[in-house]
């Protein structure tokens, strides 16, 4: 038995050595770190470790059981793959952010109490933000600011819930919570923001497609899946989650059909896939929880594979819109094959990984006789094939010939995709090793003849619909456009509010100022000299007091801009809100 450290520490501390290394040594270090951390992980026995006393509470950095271990394994695996993919990136900030992001996700997964959970939770937000901003475009900058605002709001909601919960129960232990009372609802919604629930989701298709090519692999993996973990830990069997999950599987596929940016299509299909997991948590039987966890495992791999293949296309051609791409199979045959493997896995074709995991959730819904839910999931299964399974590979690699003749992706990217593609097929053919890792004993056989034929029929006849719609010209053509989503509710009013402050409020201010000057200047002729003091008082009131109110509001609000120099101001505003909120919560909690 070797001595071990908390699972998150090797990534987080190791990350800060990266800028000190150069050349091959740095590459080797980036690839070795996940192995070192993994060896540490497998030597940790199940149970509660690293309990630290802090004030009156006990912080737990290592709550290790079968549920958290699966997440630990897959996070290490995808970290290795993501760093192999990102090996040629020269930007140290991205590497450090990547490792701290993975490390803090591990921190959440192994957290045994609310305080460590919340700390790592917020670290994930910040490091993910760095990966968005590292793209260094105007679009990524503003999308990053919106990402930050949404996640800070979600984080505050979570914190408010935690504070109330701890006041009510007197314990900071993180375990089963269940929906009862205000505190638990706040925690529930706080988790839901990171999980991209319907209505709380627009940050995801907004910010993720603007992230860096290599950072995208981390983004598509950690935030949502960690939220799935905390929900599986604290709200299993909550009925609301069944419906939330089922809606999540259905509504994004409509957006994915009309969306032009292929990485945004993948962002919508991420919400769809997380929907299956959330639904599984809501059903709450051993089979459905197993389904959720195995779906997390497979999903991280095949979604990573799809994101990597689209990243390789973006890296080689500089384009990602369906309107600009097409016919790339000619010069990027390997990337094309890997993309198709990922597409087949996410669509749950027999012999690919999605098949052995998604069917568990479907089966659990069927066993619970949930007719409507089962139909929604079946519709979503056909729909996910339609957009992620056919649309993404078809518009990038086939379709019309865009005339782009580029080279195949660099070797490290191909290797990363190749390893992931191999794992997708391996898990699909031999699900046994994956099933042995799941939290509950598995009594489930995915490869029954009926199941194989039924699923094949569903998918191939879905593809027939696609083929006929394309050939007949009915399929909606890709167009350059914005498709409004729930973010409209904060983006448009935000824009209007700034306009309101800049135009009408200032105009009123100028008007009041002009009037008061006129009164002050005009009236002095007719008044006796004794009233001069009163007059100057009135003048002061009008001129300085009233007229300056719009100016003061304007001066406040103009700092709320999405530019880096304004960041300190924005943070101060958030802090003021934060203190106000905490104060209210304490009053409520009394």
């Amino acid at each position: 038995m070797i001595s071990t450290v908390p699972p998150s520490t090797i990534f987080i501390i190791g990350a800060f050595l990266i800028p000190l290394l150069r050349g091959r040594l740095k590459s080797a270090y980036l690839l070795l770190l996940p192995f070192v951390s993994f060896i540490n992980l497998i030597n940790i026995s199940e149970g509660t470790h690293w309990v630290v006393r802090f004030l009156d509470y006990e912080l737990v950095f290592g709550k290790v059981d079968r549920l958290s271990l699966v997440f630990g394994y897959i996070y290490h695996l995808i970290s290795f793959i993501a760093f192999l993919y990102a090996l040629r990136v020269k930007d140290d900030i991205q590497h450090v952010a990547g490792y701290v992001y993975s490390g803090s996700s591990l921190g959440v997964v192994f957290a045994g109490d609310f305080i460590t959970l919340f700390l790592f939770w917020e670290m994930m937000t910040i490091t993910a933000l760095v990966l968005v901003w590292s793209r260094r475009t105007k679009k990524s900058l503003v999308a990053g600011f919106r990402y930050l605002l949404v996640h800070i709001a979600g984080g505050l909601c979570l914190l408010a819930g935690i504070v109330l919960y701890v006041i009510n129960t007197g314990s900071i232990e993180f375990g089963y919570i269940g929906l009862k009372g205000l505190a638990t609802y706040l925690i529930f919604i706080g988790f839901g923001v990171n999980c991209a629930w319907p209505g709380l989701h627009p940050w995801l298709p907004d910010a993720y497609p603007e992230s860096t090519i290599t950072g995208a692999v981390f983004m598509w993996t950690f935030t949502t899946k960690t939220a799935v973990y905390v929900l599986a830990r604290s709200f299993p069997g909550t009925e609301a989650l069944i419906w939330i999950g089922a809606i999540m599987t259905c509504f994004p596929i409509f957006y994915a059909v009309v969306e032009n940016d292929l990485r945004r299509v993948l962002a919508y299909s991420l919400i769809n896939q997380v929907g299956f997991m959330v639904c599984g948590i809501g059903i709450g039987t051993a089979l459905s929880i197993n389904g959720t966890v195995s779906h997390v495992f497979c999903h991280i791999l095949y979604k990573g594979l799809l994101v990597m293949s689209m990243g390789a296309v973006l890296h080689q051609t500089g384009k990602i819109n369906g309107t600009d791409l097409g016919g790339l199979y000619r010069t990027m045959p390997l990337t094309c094959i890997f993309c198709i493997v990922g597409a087949a896995s996410i669509s749950a074709f027999p012999l690919f990984s999605g098949f052995v995991s998604k069917s568990m959730v479907m089966e659990a819904a069927a066993m619970g006789h949930m007719k409507i839910i089962w139909f929604m999931l079946l519709f979503a299964s056909a729909g996910v094939f339609h957009h992620a399974g056919i649309k993404v590979p078809f518009f990038a690699f086939f379709s019309h010939d865009s005339g782009i003749r580029t080279k195949e992706a660099p070797l490290n990217m191909l290797l990363a995709m190749g390893i992931t593609a191999f794992l997708c097929i391996f898990i699909g053919i031999f699900p046994g090793p994956l099933y042995s890792l799941l939290p509950y004993p598995v009594d489930f056989e995915p490869y029954t003849p009926f199941h194989v034929v039924g699923m094949s029929q569903l998918l191939f006849y879905g593809s027939l619909a696609f083929t006929l719609l394309i050939l007949s010209g009915i399929y909606p053509p890709e167009v350059r456009a914005i498709h409004l989503d729930a973010d409209w509710f904060y983006r448009l009013p935000g824009k209007r509010f700034v306009w309101l402050c800049e135009r009408p409020v200032i105009a009123i201010g100028n008007f009041v100022e002009a009037i008061s000057l006129k009164i002050a200047g005009g009236s002095s002729k007719y008044l006796p000299s004794g009233t001069a003091d009163a007059e100057s008082g009135i003048d002061k009131f009008y001129h300085v007091g009233l007229a300056s109110i719009p100016t003061v509001i304007y001066n406040w609000v103009k700092h709320l801009r999405t530019e880096i120099p304004y960041l300190p101001w924005n943070l101060i505003y958030v802090l003021i809100l934060f203190i106000g909120l905490l104060f209210t919560i304490f009053l409520l909690g009394r």
């Binding site: 596929i253 409509f254 957006y255 059909v257 009309v258 199979y329 000619r330 069927a366 066993m367 006789h369 007719k371 089962w374 079946l378 519709f379 056909a382 729909g383 094939f385 339609h386 086939f398 005339g403 003749r405 029954t448 003849p449 009926f450 034929v453 039924g454 699923m455 094949s456 029929q457 569903l458 998918l459 191939f460 006849y461 879905g462 593809s463 027939l464 619909a465 696609f466 083929t467 719609l469 009915i474 399929y475 909606p476 167009v479 350059r480 456009a481 914005i482 498709h483 409004l484 989503d485 983006r491 448009l492 824009k495």
Partner: protein, 89 residues
């Protein structure tokens, strides 16, 4: 010299550039679809819902669902939510 290379690259015929290959692909594709329909009555069904026992339920559902999805996205969602690219600027 480089131009010449690019031009030959453009002229080079790839797999799906030949109409014959596309034809062969579609023949296999349709045969496979037919096979899936034909094989269904011969397998044992383990069902949870009555409609799963209807003949070719999954094939019909897959086809109808995907068609409905595309039509709904094109004719309902897109008119509602499509805006110009500079909408938020």
């Amino acid at each position: 010299m480089k131009m010449g290379k690019e031009e030959t690259e453009k002229k080079k015929e790839y797999f799906f550039d030949k109409p014959k290959n596309v034809k062969i692909f579609f023949i296999f594709y349709y045969l496979w679809l037919l096979f899936l329909l034909v094989v269904e009555p011969f397998i044992h069904k383990h069902t949870y819902f009555p409609w799963e026992e209807w003949p070719e339920f999954y094939a019909v559902f897959g086809f109808v669902a995907c068609t409905a999805l595309v039509l709904a996205a094109k004719y309902i969602l897109r008119p509602l939510v499509k805006r110009k690219e500079d909408y938020y600027d």
